[in-house]
């Protein structure tokens, strides 16, 4: 039990974004942004990460809510996964994200877990979370890629020293929807495409997103272009509740009659960032979503995979999930 009590920190509960940014600026790398806390408290309880100043976003009303904006929808970063899953607006226009949110963790976690926290969460590689000094923690080895390592949950693509994967169920969905991430710091606002928001280990092995310590993700914008498209989300996990994806797929197809006009097929938990299945997308665009097209898209999906000792099963999982996405995508149920 000794490790279950967090080390002391100062807690700040600013009421607006300005004050939060000021606090982040003042405390720099010693600060910690807190949303629902379902990733954060784990680190602090295990004492594998420390902070002196927790900036709790809970009281910032402007970070909450789902609103229409410019033909699309803007979701405040602190909006809970339950709110997203049950929002009429999201279900009607962007059912893909509602389906993804619904698959996260457990009801209690979704009642507090936020979309911002879900997209910014750290990897679940348990060597790293256990607190060992691996590459990602600033050390000089990867425990998960060692010959005797248990790496059933790890990456099959794009490993670069670190073989950890993105654990998020919502991340592939926002990439498939071409979402924009609205980021603020005291220096101003920048808008980042979801596809560029997640950080590959080849560029910076120490973090999962491009966010700087003094920046806040304030909102996620879903563009009008993908509203009401045909969607498919599926997550494969050991249990239906709590467990992180072994592989998940989020797909969006814009149809022109019976043929696919544009497609996004994105898998999570196969590499450190959500992976666009570019070859599969190219194969379906301009064609009808027939069994044959689904088959060839699936077969093209895992090219270049480099499985570790215990995760070769992910190769066929990716192929099958892409097939199922092409076959099974549907427009959102009308309200």
């Amino acid at each position: 039990m000794m490790k279950d009590m967090m080390a002391g920190f100062e807690l700040f509960q600013p009421a607006d974004v300005e004050t939060a940014l000021e606090l982040l600026d003042r405390h720099g790398a010693a600060s910690w942004r807190l949303a629902g806390g379902y990733d954060s408290l784990d680190w602090l309880k295990n004492r594998s990460k420390q902070t002196r100043a927790v900036v709790d976003l809970e009281r910032i009303a402007e970070l909450r809510g789902i609103r229409e904006s410019g033909g699309g929808v803007e979701i405040g970063a602190l909006t809970t996964l339950t709110e997203i899953e049950t929002s009429q607006l999201i279900r009607e226009r962007y059912g893909l994200l509602a389906d993804a949110a619904r698959k996260v963790a457990s009801p209690q976690i979704r009642n507090a877990g936020s979309i911002g926290g879900n997209l910014c969460q750290d990897t679940r590689c348990w060597y790293y979370r256990y607190g060992v000094k691996c590459y990602r923690a600033g050390g000089n080895t990867c425990y998960a890629a060692a010959p005797e390592a248990m790496n059933r949950e790890h990456a099959i693509f794009e490993a670069s020293r670190c073989v950890a994967v993105t654990p998020s169920d919502c991340a592939p969905a926002v990439v498939a929807l071409d979402a924009e991430m609205v980021v603020r710091s005291r220096a101003g606002e920048r808008v980042i495409r979801a596809a560029d928001f997640f950080m590959p280990p080849s560029i910076d092995i120490r973090r999962m997103t491009v966010l700087e310590p003094e920046e806040l993700l304030v909102a996620v914008r879903l563009p009008a272009a993908w509203a009401g498209a045909s969607f498919y989300f599926e997550k494969v996990a050991d249990r239906n509740v709590w467990d992180f994806p072994l592989v998940n797929v989020a797909a969006a197809f814009r149809m022109d009659g019976a043929t696919v006009a544009d497609a996004r097929i994105v898998c999570g938990a196969v590499q450190c960032t959500p992976r666009r299945m570019a070859a599969a997308e190219r194969l379906v665009v301009g064609r009808p979503r027939t069994e044959q097209v689904a088959e060839s898209a699936g077969a093209a999906s895992a090219a270049g995979a480099e499985p570790l000792a215990f995760n070769a099963y992910k190769v066929s999982l990716v192929e099958n999930l892409v097939r199922r996405a092409v076959r099974g995508a549907q427009t959102s149920e009308p309200a």
Binding site: M1, G8, E10, L11, S106, P107, A112, W242
Partner: protein, 239 residues
């Protein structure tokens, strides 16, 4: 918390304003701690409750003290006030809460509400489920300072005016839902929240609503039977 008797309690008579040396940031004692040993006729539960009721939070303090090597950083301007009022089960409770304290800790070790259980302390089991403004949350993963102005309901808050069981609890008894019983308070809270929001759930809806509560005895079907029976009896009461 597994040792009995807790070594800090027996014979300790530290007086009011003493500040513990191994936990300099800990609360000054409110009153002297009685030098009493638990009498053999007391149950462990009675003893703990007695300690809590007398306003002495020694068991909590020793808990919080353990393993904390560094002192709390000096108060920075704008940080939260430690003394706060919590609305728990319809009562306003004044309590001194550390910034890093979770609601489960506050409820169990400061307010004596030990019906809320701590299983994993990692949001992976559901034993600590409480209602915050009627919505289920894991109290092990909720900082107490976040719920300052919210309404908290624990299992203790469900009993009727004359101590009668809540219909969900009664239904769980009737359906033999609990086996070992450790997950039961959490299961009850999830069921109560479900029935408030959806008085007439399907079994599948009940299954989803209780999905965040692990039962190591595997009594899931009995719990679901209990929820369905509770929905009936609540419906009948309303009719």
């Amino acid at each position: 918390m597994s040792e009995w008797p807790p070594t800090e309690v027996g014979g300790d008579t530290r007086a009011s304003s003493t500040i513990s040396e191994d936990a300099p940031w800990a609360l000054p004692m409110v009153s002297a701690i009685p030098a009493a040993q638990p009498s053999p006729s007391w149950s462990r539960r009675d003893f703990i409750k007695g300690i809590i009721a007398s306003g002495v939070t020694v068991s909590g303090l020793s808990y919080f003290g353990s393993g904390c090597s560094g002192a709390l950083p000096a108060q920075t301007v704008g940080g939260v006030e430690r003394l706060l009022s919590l609305s728990v089960n319809g009562q306003l409770r004044r309590v001194d809460v550390l910034p890093a304290e979770t609601l489960a800790m506050t409820l169990r070790y400061k307010l004596g509400l030990t019906g809320t259980k701590l299983g994993c302390d990692r949001a992976e089991c559901g034993a600590c489920t409480v209602l915050i403004d009627g919505v289920t949350h894991y109290s092990c993963s909720t900082l107490t300072h976040r719920v300052r102005d919210r309404e908290i309901t624990t299992i203790e808050g469900l009993e009727g005016p004359n101590g009668e069981l809540h219909p969900v609890q009664q239904a769980f008894v009737d359906e033999l839902s609990p086996q070992c019983g450790f997950c039961t308070p959490g299961q009850v809270m999830s069921a109560v929240a479900l029935l408030r929001r959806n008085p007439n759930p399907t079994r599948e809806e009940a299954r989803e609503a209780l999905a965040g509560n692990l039962c190591r005895c595997g009594a899931y079907h009995n719990y679901l039977n209990g929820v369905m029976r509770a929905a009936q009896s609540l419906g009948a009461r309303e009719a």
